[in-house]
């Protein structure tokens, strides 16, 4: 059985012209994605590769998805969004830490207790991406100097137009997060109901 290379050499010797066109985009991607190419480990596609919710995405899909994302830098104790703000986007923690508060944030976030602290690779605000005209029900503050990667509703709309497959996969992944959270909430509600029943029986 002859290899692809042997076939190509044979065709060249015979003077057979190939009708294949060169896919410049694919060549560029392969050049950038090769192991010998020194790229920073901190690029967005490399980061997205490490996220479990995006494990179904190919390298090319992650690279295309990263074009629609925004990098936002926050200083320590800077407010990312307040409770009641319009919800537009979904964030991944690229670097740093984010504290989530159940109350409205004034100028002194230090005195409040966070309900949750998120670290690198964590995500938040998924319903802001899926639902139109909603507001945030919690506040988010950068605990330390933080870099977030965000994708917003306008980006999702454009992604649907430009790369519908990637958009569908992203919506499926984000919906999985929402479903998981709903399941956890249902489990907690069931637990609390059992506790209440126990207390009532006592």
């Amino acid at each position: 059985m002859s290899s692809f290379e042997q076939d190509q050499l044979k065709k060249i010797k015979e003077g057979v012209r190939s009708n294949d066109t060169l896919d410049v985009g694919l060549v560029k991607f392969l050049w950038q994605a090769n192991v010998l190419n020194r790229t920073s480990k901190k690029t967005i596609p490399r980061f997205l590769r490490d996220l479990t919710i995006l494990e179904d995405f190919s390298e090319l899909e992650l690279r295309n998805l990263s074009k629609f994302m925004h990098v936002r830098n926050f200083t320590a104790n800077e407010i990312i969004f307040r409770k009641g703000d319009i919800a537009l986007g979904f964030y991944f923690v690229f670097e740093g830490a984010v504290s989530i508060f159940n109350e409205e944030i004034g100028t002194k976030a230090d005195s409040l207790q966070p309900v949750l602290t998120l670290a690198r690779y964590d995500d938040f605000g998924e319903l802001g991406l899926l639902q139109k005209d909603t507001t945030r029900s919690v506040s988010a503050v950068a605990k330390i100097p933080t870099v977030l990667i965000g994708i917003f509703q306008p980006d999702l709309d454009e992604l649907v137009e430009a790369y519908p497959v990637i958009a569908t996969k992203l919506i499926k992944s984000v919906s999985t997060i929402v479903a998981q959270r709903l399941f956890e909430v249902m489990q907690e509600v069931k637990l609390l109901q059992d506790k209440i029943r126990t207390l009532e029986n006592k």
Binding site: K67, A76, F124, G125, G128, D133, T135, R136, S137
Partner: protein
Amino acid sequence: MSAQDQFRENKSVIVFIIFLIGCLLVFFMVPRITLPLGLAYVFYLMLRPFKSMLVKIGLPSTLAILIVLAGTTSAIVLPVIRGVALIEEEVVNFDYNIPNLEKYAKEKYIVTRQFIKEKIRIDIGNDHFQNGMNFVVEHSKKIIASIPQLFASFLEWTFLTPFFLFFFLKDDRGVRKISLNLCPNFLFERYYHLTYQFNKKIGNYVFAKFIEASIIGIIIGIGLILMGVKFPIVLAIVAGVTNIIPYLGPILGAIPAIAVTAFQFGDFQQVLPVCILFLIANTVDMVFVFPLLVSKIVDLHPISVVLSVILGSQLFGVFGMIISIPMAVAIKLIFAEFFSNGQTDEI
């Protein structure tokens, strides 16, 4: 937040405000850049769906943009080249035709004056006619004299507009990211939401107006061809384009057609079918096209529309009347954004 971080945030706010003010200043004070840039933006909003369609069928992005640009440039430049030849002929004949037009108008005025004197027994005199004719002749000559300058501007736009349009279509996200990267964090989501909504509404409005103008133009073009009126295509284009101006547009569009008909046939009775044609076209527009396409997008009270048009004309003349509705939509969006309450989401 430390003092250094606070200073950094304040600095980013100031830079962003300077950027916005700078854009507004350029918009108002440098029309040589603003007008082709604005035109390129309007074309970008109209042509973006066509580019997406071509990319979806497998064409490379750059090739799709070049095809769209070539099609648009041909569709605009070829009629203009034809129009230049026609206008040149009319300008050459203008000086010769003015005394004939004046004589014709004077005869009609004498007949009308006699009719009014017999019926109402009031002699209106010749002053009104003389003042009117002087006004028309003076302003017509001014317009003719400004045509070379208008063509020079038009030639400049013919090069600049496709140039800007190519980069809008090629890298619209890149252009938008410039302002988004400058936006401070606390304003980012709100600003992005506003600009996105504004682009969407303006895009839909431009597309709807384009469809509306095309429908009006086609109805009037077919009607004028059937009536045998001269320059039916040019008059149809003028009627379609002037229809963009709210309320006054249909009247402004009808005036050239009525004038051409009156001078071609030398009889005002021939003008009546042309008026009926414009009435039919605008009725179709008001009853079917406007409610279905435009009003849902605009979502403005009719009083707001009238006030915007008056304010636009006061500030920027005809151009102001055209952009008054999109600007009113933008202002309404900004107010709605700052005073709206959405439903709460759960994280």
